[in-house]
């Protein structure tokens, strides 16, 4: 006995069988009559072919009706047998598959993705004909949003088989939200709605637990089940960052410095890794062994590298380098690419008003102190240009990496906006209060235009007694390179006057602070900007602080310049899964290249739009070559994975379950499938015959084409005027 999962569709299909007849009748009404003289001959001819012709017509009509009926039947989900109990309710299953970066984790039975896919396929194959299924990928949760689930179960299995792990971050929260939207589609009304999460639930996929859509009160709750979480086996250590730079203030042909931060992601035992740094411009790979002691989270190592000498090295000075460690539980975070910036001097613009008070040490302006600290050597490694605040504009800082404002009270709103744009595209801006000003109303512009996250006082505060300066110990960031000497250098200076900033000295943004007085040097990046803003609450003037007079002055400002160089170089870097921004004009595409600098076989170039933004997210990490419209290489570009998205640290299962419980009732997948879905005991699903019906439909369609051609008695089109004339005669008859 044949049944249909959607009897309504089957009924509609049965009605559609009349379509060929209807089409025939409609076409017949439109025919215009012919006038004809030899009617006796024609009638005799008709009499001779009438029997055969009638047979042909009925045969063709039957085949056409059968084609329509089979097509409609196949769509209606037919099955053979009456084994499905009448009380059984159809199921709508939404499967969320975690195919994000974390799913590359190596497990005992394969990768995390293969385990997830196997579990998902088991769920899908447990569905009966007529049930619906939707597959939602964690890397592309928006793909299935708004679409109803499909009854094509075999198609869902094929989609699962075709899944592969990428390097893009998985967004399990959005995927679950999309799955909930699919389950809420009206097509699934009246069915048992289930959500199955096929994920190892690592922190890389579930970093946050945002609120999920909650079903309506009158709806039957969604049955939620989660794949059995696989055991986490083995440690995972990753390369968290790689900095390839040339020290500021050094000679232009100085060897680059590569600093690699090795970070522990999973495990707590002591681990040893060998960091190798490779690159096309390096004479030989640099190596350094690093050991993380138990409990140690991260360690930065400096890997010595030597560049090849000669024209090649100079020409390819902006090539990418890659740092690798031995593969472990998560292989995709064991390598990281960075761009080795070209040997260029830092250009600094000091916005300061010149004074003509003389040249004695007690007559130096704040800008003069800073200029000397930035360029102490001769020839200088930092190009310093002093610009009067009245003439400061976008052109002034167009070619600069660092802008130092020592007279902020003289800047107009437009000039503040110029600074904001400068920071947005990767520049570093340092703002200091003017030494001779008492009221500092410009701090409002710092907050409004440059996005300073704190309040700063308008008046400078005279400290009752000079306060010593302390440095916040940090592994990376500004002044981290002189962290070893910083306590001694900072301890020698004090502050007697400063602006108050309502930020805690322990805040991550604070670099230098005076205990009991407040932050001296704070740093932040405005939202959406690649550059940074540094605020000194003291002026580089002896009336405010002794910094200009002490040894801290030069290394501190050299580090500020080095940070500016790093920020500028970060424009040639993006994260997998994001739209990369290229800050150089004229770039039309990013071409993947190997570590030797040669084009990567099978690599797919990513087009770059007119605004410097790629037209599609970059989906593969590694080194890229920036190419212009002529195909010429214009430098290197690094695409890195997001270390947090690769994390294979198990997330808190209790928290994950309670989070998923907000969308429905959480249970074990096996028990839900057997007990809760109303399948009668001893009964199995009917045999789906949609495929067979479709095949038969196609075969009949081919047969119909052959028969229609044969029965049409087609022959080469009549030539000459006769055919056309008879048509005209017909037209005359109609008139």
């Amino acid at each position: 006995m044949i049944g249909f999962a959607s009897p309504g569709l089957a009924l509609a299909g049965a009605l559609c069988v009349g379509l060929p007849v209807l089409v025939h009748l409609l076409l017949r009404r439109r025919r215009r009559p012919y006038e004809w003289a030899a009617m006796d001959l024609l009638r005799e001819a008709i009499r001779r072919v009438e029997r055969r012709r009638r047979l042909e017509r009925w045969l063709l009509l039957a085949v056409r009706c059968l084609v329509v009926a089979l097509a409609a039947g196949a769509i209606a989900g037919p099955f053979l047998g009456s084994v499905i109990a009448p009380e059984r309710r159809a199921r709508t299953l939404a499967v969320v598959v975690d195919d994000g970066a974390a799913s590359n984790e190596r497990l005992a039975t394969g990768t995390a993705l293969s385990v997830s896919v196997a579990a998902a396929k088991e769920m899908v194959e447990g569905l009966a004909p007529g049930d619906r299924v939707a597959i939602v990928r964690a890397t592309r949760p928006a793909d299935g949003a708004g679409e109803p689930a499909s009854m094509d179960l075999s198609g869902a299995v094929r989609r699962l088989d075709a899944l592969s792990s990428g390097e893009t971050a998985g967004d399990l929260a959005s995927a679950v939200a999309s799955a909930c939207a699919i389950l809420a589609h009206p097509d699934g009304a009246g069915t048992v709605r289930e959500l199955f999460v096929a994920s190892a639930l690592r922190e890389g996929s579930v970093r946050a637990f945002p609120p999920l859509p909650v079903g309506r009160g009158d709806d039957e709750p969604v049955r939620v089940s989660v794949m059995t979480t696989p055991d986490a086996a083995g440690d995972n250590v990753r390369i968290a960052s790689i900095r390839a730079e040339r020290p500021a203030g050094a000679a232009t042909d100085a060897a680059p410095v590569v600093k690699v931060v090795v970070e522990r992601d999973r495990g707590d035992a002591a681990v040893t890794r060998t960091v190798r740094v490779l690159g096309p411009t390096l004479a030989s790979p640099g190596e350094r062994t690093v050991t993380l002691s138990p409990g140690e989270r991260a360690r930065e190592v400096t890997v010595p590298v030597v560049e090849r000498s000669g024209g090649d090295a100079v020409r390819s000075a902006s090539r990418a380098i890659i740092a690798t460690i031995e593969p472990d539980a998560q292989p995709i975070d064991d390598a990281r690419t960075a761009v080795l910036a070209a040997t260029e001097r830092v250009r600094a613009v000091i916005v300061d008003r010149r004074t003509f008070d003389g040249t004695g040490i007690d007559r130096l302006s704040q800008g003069d102190w800073i200029a000397r600290a930035l360029a102490p050597a001769d020839p200088p490694a930092v190009d310093v240009v002093t610009v009067d605040p009245a003439s400061f504009d976008a052109r002034s800082c167009a070619a600069a990496e660092l802008a130092v404002v020592t007279q902020p009270q003289l800047l107009s709103d437009a000039q503040w906006r110029v600074l904001s744009a400068f920071v947005e595209r990767g520049g570093s801006c340092v703002v200091l209060p003017a030494a001779r000003e008492r009221v500092h109303a410009w701090t409002r512009a710092m907050r409004d235009v440059l996005g300073m996250p704190w309040q700063a006082s308008v008046d400078a505060v005279e400290l009752p007694a000079p306060a010593a300066i302390e440095a916040v110990r940090r592994e990376s960031g500004t002044l981290s390179a002189i962290m070893a000497e910083l306590p001694q250098l900072a301890g020698a200076v004090d502050v007697s006057r400063m602006l108050r900033l309502d930020v805690s000295p322990t805040d991550a943004s604070v670099v230098l602070f005076a205990p009991g007085a407040g932050a001296v040097m704070s740093q932040w990046s405005p939202a959406g900007a690649r550059g940074s803003v540094t605020l000194f609450t003291v002026a580089m003037d002896p009336s405010w602080t002794t910094i200009p007079l002490k040894p801290l002055m030069v290394p501190a400002w050299q580090e500020v310049a080095a940070e500016a160089r790093r920020r500028a170089g970060s424009g040639q870097q993006a994260t997998v899964g994001s739209f990369a921004m290229v800050d150089r004009p004229g770039i039309t595409e990013l071409r993947p290249v190997g570590i030797d600098g040669a084009p990567l076989a099978g690599g797919r170039a990513v087009p770059v739009g007119a605004g410097g933004r790629t037209v599609a997210p970059v989906d593969r990490s590694g080194a890229y070559e920036m190419a212009d419209a002529q195909g010429e290489s214009r430098g290197a570009f690094a695409v890195t994975v997001d270390p947090a998205a690769c994390s294979v640290r198990p997330s808190d299962p209790g928290r994950a379950m309670s989070w998923l419980a907000t969308v429905g009732t959480v249970g074990e997948p096996g028990t839900e499938r057997d007990a809760g879905l109303g399948i009668a005991s001893g009964s199995g699903p009917g045999m789906a015959i949609a495929g067979w019906m479709l095949a038969a439909c196609l075969a009949l369609a081919v047969l119909e084409s052959v028969l229609a051609r044969r029965f049409s008695h087609a022959r080469p089109a009549a030539s000459g005027p006769v055919h056309a004339a008879v048509r005209i005669a017909a037209g005359r008859a109609a008139a």
Partner: protein, 315 residues
Amino acid sequence: MRAEQYLAPETLAQLGPFEVRAKRIAEGVMSGMHRSPYQGLAVEFAEHRQYVAGDPVRHIDWKVFGRSDKLYLKRFQQETNLDVHLLVDASGSMRFGTLGLKEGWGGTRAGNVRWTKFDHATAAAAAMAFMALSQRDRVSVSMLGAGIGASTRCSNSQGHWRAVVQCLATHAVEGKADLGRSVDELLARTPHRAMVMIVSDFLMPVARVRDALARLRHRGHDVVLLRTLDRAELRFDLDEEAPFEGLEGEPTVEVDARAVREAYLQVLDEDERALERTVRGFGFDLVRLDTHDSVGPALAALLARRERMLAGGMR
């Protein structure tokens, strides 16, 4: 109406070298170019016959009497003129035509943009009438319908050709044709043996044609059938399925042209063969005219064939 509408110069040029000759003996009232059943005092010697009492003395061949001392009479073959009766089908089926009207091809009705079978038939009849009148044979034309609808007197007078064309041009083309009745009416008004040319599509049972021809044969007339058909009828080059309406009031029939074509051509071929067998059986001539071709070549071929046949018979 202009005469050249029916008689194209090229048609005349193609018929120029020929004469309308009766295959059978014609009974004319005037001296002409056709053999007469009457022998007498005409100019052409026929034979000698022995004198019997009562024969006119003036026909005795005195030269033979002088040589042989026997009395012989000279007998002469009398030549007569030919009566040509043109019977043109004016039934509704002759209204069919698919050829666009060409300059100089004429047309019988105002506003007609198609060259119909009737137009082609009148062109052929006008050409034959012109040929006969030009050799001083007498011509009459009759319109074939349910009976003889309109006709002209049989004459070879000057200007009679214009009367013939006038009759052809003004007659309505409609209704059904009754060949038997029309032939009977023609026989009733034709006392002498003559040439009868029937111009029609002969879309009628062959048995009726046979009956009509038998009566004409019985009266000793020489008959020529000019079967006029349109090329669309001959080829049936249609590709659509459509209703077909008859021109003589037949009921509409649904026809899938592509499916029927083969059978139609077979039926047409059988009809043509049957008609040809019938016509040849009586010793008459049958010529098929295609409306898409000029009448000249077909008529010229007919006249040439008849001349060859008569020349062979004379020898």
